[in-house]
Amino acid sequence: MTALAGRRTLALQTNEAWRLRLYIAGQSPKSLLAIANLRSLCEEHLAGRYEIEIVDLLEQPTRARSDDILAIPTVVRRFPRPPRRVIGDLSNSERVRVGMQF
């Protein structure tokens, strides 16, 4: 863990790109809203050093189990460690910022 923690600080210092993953289920209004909200938040806080991966569970249903997803939409911070999750359409930007620790 110390190695990981060391890597995290290093990553933050060296501005390594954040990796975020957003789980959605089809092109529902909630999903579209979440995608838009997440993009604008990242632009605001992490301009130029983030990646967003979008996983549509309707297309890859087994990933709900393998990635342990219940609620839709869910955004997962995969890097930096440790992973963090926020669910909902991300309309409350302050809570997303706190949740993701941008």
Partner: protein, 577 residues
């Protein structure tokens, strides 16, 4: 897990279609199983067996009814779950490998994730849908869905999503079991019962008199008849068993075949034959009346015919019984060696009543005896309340009768009629009572047939002797001196023999006297005859002299008349002037 269970027809009573659980007794209580294609709520406090019931429903569904299933675990990890049910012979890993079972453990972390704005449980739906499709599931278990209430802060959204979930499960036509934890004064902590309205099963776990009993109750079953009682249930080595009192009803086949009791005179008392095969017999009596000996002799007789017997003893060990019985000429060791007799000796307080019943059923199924002895059932009173004991015995008698097993219970009477007896009395077909009587400085045993259904049994009391050749029955003495037993009876019998001899002597003497008297009388009468004859001779002689003289005189008168020339007016008349 017998293969023919799958062939059992599901009830087609025109009511709700049902899915058999395969759990012993539960299908009887629910009238055929859980509502097919609908969710059932199983709720109760922690440790009451909810998860196990749900898991067994799923496993039996796969192994007995060929209905694949999905298990969604919110609480236990998959590895824990596998380990927990392995002890009951459920091999989840194998079922998963066979593609019949999908297990999904949902990890929920309280407080995380944060929520912002609108969300739904589509992730869970997709997850369930994928698992259901993967195995072609007909059954699903969600254990325990309430855990989600700790993981989400927007409960309004959660509740509406749960409503949607149950609606979706019904749409899938899947038979679901959802477990919930009991709350304070409510069935479940978060009111899951509001969502699952078709069937609610409540499990409980109570301790009375230091003995814990698990109980199951069908709180509600929409559109179906169901048993309303609380039924005890057990978690045994082969899964759950619900023990409904009326599981068998009173439908057992009857047999008019008789079983010799091992005591010839007792057979005679039971209208010349013995006990009915498949009947229940109670031998009650105070301490030391020979109840166990009678039971052992019955065992012995059974084994001699080559049939199997099983002896449950709650007081003595096998070695003690064998030794004690050989002292009265009943040699049981040979039957144990011949695999015709099996002993099970344990203190009933070792396990609870339900476990006791379960254990006995298991042993009986394995050994398949034609006679079962329980010595003594009164010991079971130490294990539970009287009503529970009698309910347990009723179930046991039902179970044994249904198998055609002849059962002999012994019961220890305290002074006066014991409680157990009253409870068992109506259960048993034949009731033998052993008593002791005190008199002439000794105790003696008596046996009588208190009741025996379906046979013209003797009303006589017999004396019960424990001899070196086992039990013998002898007639008691009933006469002017009252009822006598033991040495008093023997003394009386001896006295009677003596009295008889004396009377005979007396008669002999009288006969001799009479004979002598006859001789005397005969002698006397001979003397009298002699006197009489002498006298008669004398009289005869004098009479003839007299008439000769008279004739002479008449002739002389005629002569004189002729001489006087007088008319004779009456010739021959003479001698009477």
């Amino acid at each position: 897990m017998s293969p023919n269970r799958a062939a059992e027809r599901e009830p087609t009573t025109g009511e709700l279609p049902k899915a058999r659980t395969g759990i012993a007794g539960l299908d009887e209580v629910t009238g055929g199983g859980l509502p097919r294609g609908r969710p059932t709520l199983v709720c109760g406090p922690a440790g009451c067996g909810k998860t196990l019931l749900a898991m067994e429903f799923l496993v039996r569904g796969i192994t007995e009814y060929d209905e694949p299933g999905v298990f969604v675990a919110f609480e236990e990890s998959i590895d824990d779950l596998r380990a927990n049910v392995r002890s009951m012979g459920f091999d989840l890993a194998q079922l998963e490998a066979d593609g019949k079972l999908a297990v999904d453990h949902v990890t929920l972390v309280t407080g995380e994730p944060g929520e912002t704005g609108d969300w739904d449980l589509d992730g869970l739906f997709i997850r369930l849908g994928a698992a259901i499709n993967a195995v072609g599931a007909k059954r699903i278990v969600i254990d325990t869905i309430e855990t989600m209430f700790g993981a989400f802060s927007n409960l309004n959204t959660l509740r509406s999503e749960l409503t949607r979930l149950f609606g979706w499960l019904k749409e899938q036509g899947i038979t679901a079991v959802v477990t919930g934890e009991r709350g304070d004064g409510t069935l479940t902590r978060h009111g899951i019962e509001e969502y699952v309205s078709d069937c609610v099963i409540v499990l409980d776990h109570r301790v009375t008199e230091q003995m814990s009993t698990r109980r199951l109750r069908i709180l509600k079953y929409r559109g179906s008849l169901h048993g309303t009682n609380e039924y005890p249930f057990l978690i045994g080595e082969a899964g759950l068993s619900v023990l409904p009192l009326s599981s068998l009803g009173l439908q057992h086949p009857v047999c008019s075949e008789r079983m010799p009791t091992g005591v010839a005179r007792l057979d005679a008392m039971l209208s010349a034959g013995g006990f009915y095969k498949g009947s229940a017999i109670l031998v009650s009596g105070t301490a030391g009346t020979g109840k166990s000996t009678l039971a052992a002799q019955f065992c012995d007789a059974t084994c001699q015919r080559g049939e199997r017997a099983m002896f449950f003893s709650f007081e003595e060990s096998e070695a003690e019984i064998v030794r004690n019985m050989s002292s009265v000429g009943i040699h049981l060791r040979q039957w144990v060696d011949a695999d015709l007799l099996q002993f099970h000796c344990f203190r009933p307080s070792l396990i609870g009543l339900e476990a006791h019943l379960f254990a006995i059923q298991k042993f009986v199924r394995q050994f398949d005896p034609s006679v079962v002895i329980k010595d003594p059932v009164s010991d079971l009173l130490r294990v539970g309340a009287e009503a529970d004991v009698s309910a347990m015995l009723t179930r046991q008698v039902d179970f044994l009768k249904a198998r055609g097993v002849t059962t002999l219970f012994t019961s220890l009477d305290s002074d006066g009629p014991s409680g157990t007896d009253e409870h068992i009395a109506s259960l048993v077909d034949t009731w033998l009572r052993l008593q002791t009587t005190e008199g002439s400085g000794e105790y003696n045993r008596l046996l009588r047939v208190l009741k025996s259904r379906g046979m013209a049994h003797s009303n006589q009391i017999r004396e019960f002797l424990v001899t070196e050749r086992g039990i013998e029955l002898v007639d008691i003495y009933v006469g002017t001196e009252g009822v006598l037993t033991g040495s008093a009876r023997q003394a009386q019998e001896a006295r009677e023999v003596q009295d008889g001899a004396a009377r005979e002597e007396d008669v002999e003497l009288r006969r001799a006297i009479l004979e002598r008297r006859r001789e005397a009388v005969q002698a006397q009468s001979a003397a009298l005859w002699r006197d009489f004859e002498g006298e008669a001779d004398l009289v005869g002689r004098s009479l003839s002299n007299n008439s000769a003289a008279m004739n002479l005189r008449a002739r002389q008168r005629v002569e004189q008349g002729r001489l006087r020339r007088a008319d004779s007016d009456a010739p021959g008349r003479g001698g009477d002037e």
